[in-house]
């Protein structure tokens, strides 16, 4: 799941300073699950913005709406009539949703309301941790289901490094050493010998180093296009 966190209010107020009427747009996908931009957060932020602007003596009219997902054009289509009436949209979706929204409404200002942080797991109510970097070529088969790319601070492929201390990482003592976890899990599965295999240098061209990525599956595509 994509994990996001609401942006500092000053930043948001800065974006909206020129507007009189905005639509705070929540998303019912990942940002609802990670408690950053669902209907509840949309309501709270709307109220906060109205109060902040009231205090400045420049009232802001705030409309609010939360749609199923902002990363699908069809869902955005459904709010076209609402968008017409506002000066700008403050999107609480992840970076993907914000961009889709901007693409769907080319004549409107679309401002980001959250910082998209990482792809991660929900450990507890209010606690999230990174698990994947979408590097494009999964190695979890070789590393006991623990990702060295996302969970090792150095993303090294034949760890641990010298900074691994009592199962913790030298970069941050609260972070588990991914390679210690990999070793322990493989040992538990009786596969620790497999660590003798030296993993080759990773081909980062599948990741961001190859430029923006795109996935096309001709076997699934509709003839008419989007």
């Amino acid at each position: 799941m994509i994990i996001a966190e609401r942006k500092p209010i000053d930043e948001i107020l800065g974006f909206l300073s020129q507007h009189q009427k905005v639509l705070v747009l929540g998303c019912g996908g990942c940002v609802t699950v990670c408690l950053a931009g669902g209907e509840k957060e949309t309501g709270i932020l709307s109220s906060e913005l109205a109060m902040a602007r009231s205090k400045e003596g420049r009232p802001l009219e705030v409309a609010q709406k939360t749609i199923e997902r902002q990363c699908d054009f069809e869902y955005l289509e459904g709010i076209r009539h609402m968008v017409k009436d506002v000066d700008a949209i403050l999107s609480l979706a992840c970076g993907i949703g914000i961009q889709t929204c901007a693409e769907a409404f080319p004549d409107k200002f679309v401002w980001p309301g959250v910082n998209t942080k990482f792809l991660g797991v929900n450990l507890n109510v209010g606690e999230w941790a990174e698990r994947c970097q979408a590097c494009g070529q999964c190695v979890l088969d070789k590393t006991g289901g623990i990702c060295p790319v996302a969970r090792c601070s150095k993303s090294i492929f034949n760890g641990p490094c010298g900074g691994s201390q009592n199962g913790k990482c030298e970069v941050d003592p609260d972070t588990d050493c991914a390679w210690a976890l990999i070793h322990d899990r493989l040992a538990r599965l009786g596969q620790v010998e497999s660590l003798r295999e030296i993993l080759p240098v990773k081909d980062w061209s599948y990741s961001r180093d190859g430029g923006p990525r795109k996935l096309v599956r001709e076997d699934l595509e509709l003839e008419s296009g989007k």
Partner: protein, 562 residues
């Protein structure tokens, strides 16, 4: 909101107590301006019996379907007006009460602000009324099998009590036979029976009862579901088998740990714990004219049990064997039925009670126990260390929850309380209840207890289970929160936050969202606190009578002044 909402407002003077401070006409003229208000009426005393009938008639005549009562809002009055609504054929939840007496007239002097407040309170009540929703009753099918975990005295007693109320019982015992710890004890406080006899009788009663199925060498491995519909995974010899049960009783008891090191001693024939002493007494060991010292203190003071056992055994050794018994104590806790008497009896029988605070030294030399201690009472007159020599030293054991209690708590989704025993629900409710309905505690698993309390505890548990699962189908008012599946993103926030484990994620075509799933609150397990509704990031959860729109409408009805 329905278009045909017709609100009726009934204003009570409360025999003049209300109109003494506020003006009826002023309030009603404001209320009449509000949309959907079709009927306004006042009365001297709205909760009088005849008034109820009149309200009924007015409701029918004017086709009212939301009722606002402006007057007081006590629970007695609320019950009265809900009944009136039912008599008039309306759902009792379509009632909004405005506490004009309690929030305004009784606490303020007559002044212009009181007028403003009274009108505002009335407007808030009407705004809420417009958004009230019906709450229906539902029939919930329930399983009437009870799983009892632990085959000690408490478990057996609970099994028998439940069987007597028509339940099927599965009694799971982790050892290879029933009986638990009582088999190791010589005598029981407050029960005039030999433990072995009592146990035999209970084991026979349990094993001969056709409603009780005993499963030995069995423990609980996993648990799904809620009251009336648990699936319990029972583990025997490494294999898990599911059983469907409606309620679970934990009777896993307590265990003792003998720790002489704490007193600077090591294990020896004459250094024993109270449990070992019980065992020796039951086996018929002779303590004739021996000198025996006992200690109570150093961290065993959390419960009454160690005190009472020590006094019991001291008295027994004194009376039966004419032994010299020295009881060293830091504190004596004997608050309970007849225990105080047992304590005075022990003193009268010549048991020596010696008070110490910190300074006590015990040494075991060639079969002789030497105790040096400082007495805080005598010390004022004759300072110095006192020395006592004994044949035996009896130490209190540590009382801890039986092995595996923590894992069991995890499986049951219960919290551990003081000293890591299973935590009971808060003091407002029965001491046998846990934070989850359908899961109960009997015997010592919540706190080391006494045999003579077990019967009461077992009965209370069985009654509580019967109250909830009185038939194959039970009727409940569906006041638990409901979920708008189109907004539910099955994020698990509510599931994780529910203090009563009452929420499950259900799957099915009826849930109209991407996941074909939604959180569902169990009507029997839910206690209607609304925590889940407040946590829900998608605003998918609403608690009947306290929906977001009802609460926000009250805020909306307030005047804002710069």
């Amino acid at each position: 909101m329905e278009n045909n909402t017709r609100i009726g407002v009934f204003f009570c003077n409360c025999n003049g107590k209300i109109t003494e401070k506020v003006d009826y006409e002023e309030i009603t003229s404001e209320i009449k301006k509000l949309p959907q208000v079709e009927y306004v009426r006042d009365s001297q005393n709205l909760c009088a019996h005849l008034e109820g009938e009149l309200i009924c008639k007015e409701i029918s005549k004017n086709q009212l379907n939301r009722i606002v009562v402006i007057g007081c809002a006590g629970s007695r009055e609320e019950g009265f007006f809900r009944e009136v609504l039912v008599k008039a054929g309306l759902n009792p939840h379509l009632l909004s009460m405005v506490n004009l007496l309690g929030e305004c007239c009784a606490v303020h002097e007559k002044n212009p602000q009181v007028k403003v407040k009274s009108i505002e309170l009335a407007r808030m009540g009407v705004a809420r009324a417009a958004l009230l929703e019906e709450v229906k009753h539902g029939d919930v099918p329930v399983n009437r099998t009870v799983l009892v975990i632990g085959g000690g005295l408490a478990g057996m007693e609970t099994a028998l009590e439940n069987a007597a109320r028509g339940f099927k019982v599965i009694l799971a015992e982790k050892e290879d036979k029933l009986g638990g710890r009582l088999a190791r004890v010589n005598s029981i406080i407050g029960v005039d029976r030999k433990p072995a006899e009592l146990l035999d009788e209970k084991v026979k009663a349990v094993t001969s009862n056709p409603a009780i199925e005993v499963r030995t060498n069995t423990r609980l491995g996993d648990l799904d579901g809620n009251i009336g519909g648990f699936t319990a995974w029972l583990v025997k010899d490494g294999t898990e088998t599911p059983v469907e049960v409606g309620a679970i009783v934990v009777a896993t008891g307590v265990q003792t740990i003998f720790c002489p090191v704490k007193y600077g001693l090591s294990i020896a024939d004459n250094v024993i714990g109270q449990m070992k002493l019980e065992r020796l007494l039951a086996d018929g060991k002779d303590f004739n004219r021996k000198n025996i010292s006992m200690i109570i203190g150093k961290g065993t003071e959390a419960f009454n049990l160690p005190f009472v056992i020590a006094v019991k055994n001291a008295l027994l050794l004194r009376q039966k064997f004419n032994a010299t018994v020295n009881l060293f104590y830091t504190n004596i806790k004997v608050g309970g039925d007849n225990w105080e008497k047992m304590y005075t009896d022990a003193r009268a029988a010549g048991v020596n009670f010696f008070k110490f605070e910190d300074n006590i030294e015990i040494a075991a030399n060639n079969g002789e126990i030497i105790i040096n201690y400082e007495d805080p009472f005598l010390g004022n007159k004759v300072p110095g260390t006192y020395k006592i020599t004994s044949d035996y030293i009896v130490l209190p054991e540590e009382l801890v929850p039986s092995e595996g209690t923590e894992e069991l708590a995890g499986v049951l989704r219960l919290e551990l309380g003081p000293a890591s025993f299973l935590s009971i629900d808060n003091a407002h409710i029965l001491p046998e209840m846990t934070s989850r309905d359908g899961i109960y505690l009997a015997g010592s698993c919540q706190m080391p207890g006494f045999v003579n309390e077990i019967e009461i505890s077992a009965k209370a548990v069985a009654e509580e289970i019967f109250r909830k699962l009185y038939d194959e189908k039970v009727s409940v008012e569906m006041t638990q929160p409901y979920v708008d599946a189109t907004k539910c993103v099955v994020c698990l926030t509510c599931y994780r936050c529910c203090p009563h484990g009452a929420i499950t994620i259900e799957h099915g075509e009826q849930y109209e969202n991407l996941y074909k799933s939604a959180a569902v609150m169990n009507p029997l397990a839910c206690r209607k606190c609304g925590i889940c509704a407040a946590e829900c990031p998608g605003k998918a959860i609403q608690l009947p009578d306290y929906t977001d729109s009802q609460i926000l409408a009250q805020l909306e009805a307030m005047e804002v002044q710069p």
